[in-house]
């Protein structure tokens, strides 16, 4: 697959989003999403459109995520076309608080799927789906 002609690479979105998250700068976080973006969070809640994504994350970063720290544990990129890319991000989070059953001292691990689209020379997230990694044994 040929390389896209954007100024940046999809990888940049990973580092930019994590920087925005850890500064709790939701304006910078929201700016990484396409206006039509879908976002499914770890409890299966679907946000439709950048406005809903912004509202939810602004609320979460005033509450349970206000002291959270996000870190990448590695990501992969696969191009579906020169302007559409799939990104999988393994992440670690510390400092989350307040949800039932969550220990604020616990380290969360998860895996996020993103679909990125290149528009006007930059990559935007148009679909995100996030899941906590739950260490349970598979059935025999």
């Amino acid at each position: 697959m040929s390389q896209p002609t954007t100024a940046t690479k999809p990888d940049t979105v990973v580092s930019t989003l994590i920087d925005a998250w850890n500064r709790h700068d939701m304006e910078a976080h929201t700016a990484l999403f396409h206006p039509d973006a879908d976002f499914v969070n770890v409890i299966g809640m679907r946000m439709r459109g950048r406005t809903e994504i912004d509202k939810m994350h602004a609320h979460l970063h005033r509450t349970i995520f206000r002291n959270s720290v996000l870190r990448s544990e590695g990501h992969t990129v696969r191009f579906l076309s020169p302007t559409i890319a799939l990104v999988h991000v393994n992440w670690e989070m510390t400092g989350a608080e307040g949800l039932p059953g969550w220990d604020p001292g616990a380290i969360r691990h998860g895996l996020m799927t993103w679909v990125l689209v290149a528009e006007d020379g930059r990559w935007l997230i148009t679909a995100a789906h996030n899941t906590d990694i739950v260490p349970i044994a598979m059935p025999k």
Copy 2:
């Protein structure tokens, strides 16, 4: 966005997959995935490629999902290009068994994100990410 020139619509993949699931016909299930497909399941386990997806689902349909029944509660389709489409499927499952904390009589609800690509006139799943919908209260 112009309509793709495939013989079928992305919607067909939803009904075909559910039919295959409920017949526990993993050959038909696997045939709906692209050779390069990524699949992230509800516990954050990532399968890479159709062969891994096949192996895992064959195992699950011999064990915890052997009597499971999957049903769509509605889906949406958004085209990213004439040959790439995003599908979100709300699903209900009954009859799953055996995982810790799961009541086999319980009704599970979840939400799946799919990225479909059209190749040789048919739609294939090239990325799937699945999450149980967990009814917890959001922080105030």
